[in-house]
Symmetry: C2
Amino acid sequence: MNKKKQQTEQTKKKIADAARALFAQKGYKATSIEDIVKATGCSAGNIYYHFKNKEGLFLYLLEEWNAEWDKTWLDKETLYPTTIDKLYGMAEQLALDQLNHPLTKAADEFFNNSEKARDVEERIHEMVKGYLDFNRQLLQRGIDNHEFETTNVTGLAIILDSLMLGLNQHSRRMEREEALEAYRLAMDVFLHGIAKPTRTR
Amino acid sequence: MNKKKQQTEQTKKKIADAARALFAQKGYKATSIEDIVKATGCSAGNIYYHFKNKEGLFLYLLEEWNAEWDKTWLDKETLYPTTIDKLYGMAEQLALDQLNHPLTKAADEFFNNSEKARDVEERIHEMVKGYLDFNRQLLQRGIDNHEFETTNVTGLAIILDSLMLGLNQHSRRMEREEALEAYRLAMDVFLHGIAKPTRTR
DNA sequence: TATAATACTGAACTTTTATTCAGTATTATA
DNA sequence: TATAATACTGAATAAAAGTTCAGTATTATA
């Protein structure tokens, strides 16, 4: 009850690694099962033995990715004293993540694709909810700390996610420093706005 | 030299109208040429007589759409006294446009699709540049009017576009009023930020 | 060792869909 | 009216790519 499990783990990892690299490089649709077959040396059938289908394989990678993001974040988070610092930290991590690991492009393609099975649609929806919850909790802490003056936490969570989502797309055309700067600027604006402080709001 | 041109115009419009509705409803990839054939009653060959290919047809619709957006905007713009008002007005128009005319979803699918011809990639890039220029000019006017305190106009143009881009995605899951409110809130944040006005920046 | 379970192969299947093109019909030109 | 140009037909093409499955090999179980 060991050599089998070990083998399965190893093969699954081999497929996942190759698929991740290919999806990142070529995009979701442009990466065929045949490509993964060539890259791994294992058969098409074997891929379908370990993963439900192409969508399932990609979802697996997405969730693995999310889990790693969370882990990295938890390690960092305590280092940031204020919520404002945390926000800048989050923006930086998102920027770096995107620069190092361009699965984001394939993810956008996947999310925006019109032909998705019902269960896939649901899992994506769950993920989005997860991102929003993350933002909501972060912002709520800022409110509790009296760092922010706002009531509509849910609304702001969406604004923040929108900002990151959009930047994610734009930063694909940027160099490393440019991207990092853009994410910082986005946080500046999110926190302080651009209007002169007349504050007639 | 008349009945022919008239016929061409009419057919082209018939195809464009049907395609627009289908793309909006089903998405880009999920809309087949066959669908358009059925909806218009004209043959597949005829579609290819009037448009280079499926991509070309979609690009035609996109550019038509952009042109209309500009026209609508120019009509409204003068009604807004300050740049701040203009920004809220722009956000509202984007929200409404998206609510009434969900070609945006298909457009995202199209933009994010990994398999695009070189010339298509370029036309998309031109469009993005157009959006950024639009933002840049708007913001520059605000600076000239001393409404904003900022120097990095180009950076802010990207931030603004990112915000609208991301909201565009989120607002698909919203009702009309909710979406409008989200766009307004986004503008509030863009202009004033969420941090308490300590302004240690 | 015999049997069951698991891991894997790879060719064939299936389906989908954009695109073409030889040929026809309609309208403009001279 | 003859000829050229334009508008259109629709069946055939063609190529891709995800998925399946009957069969084989390897390992666990009893």
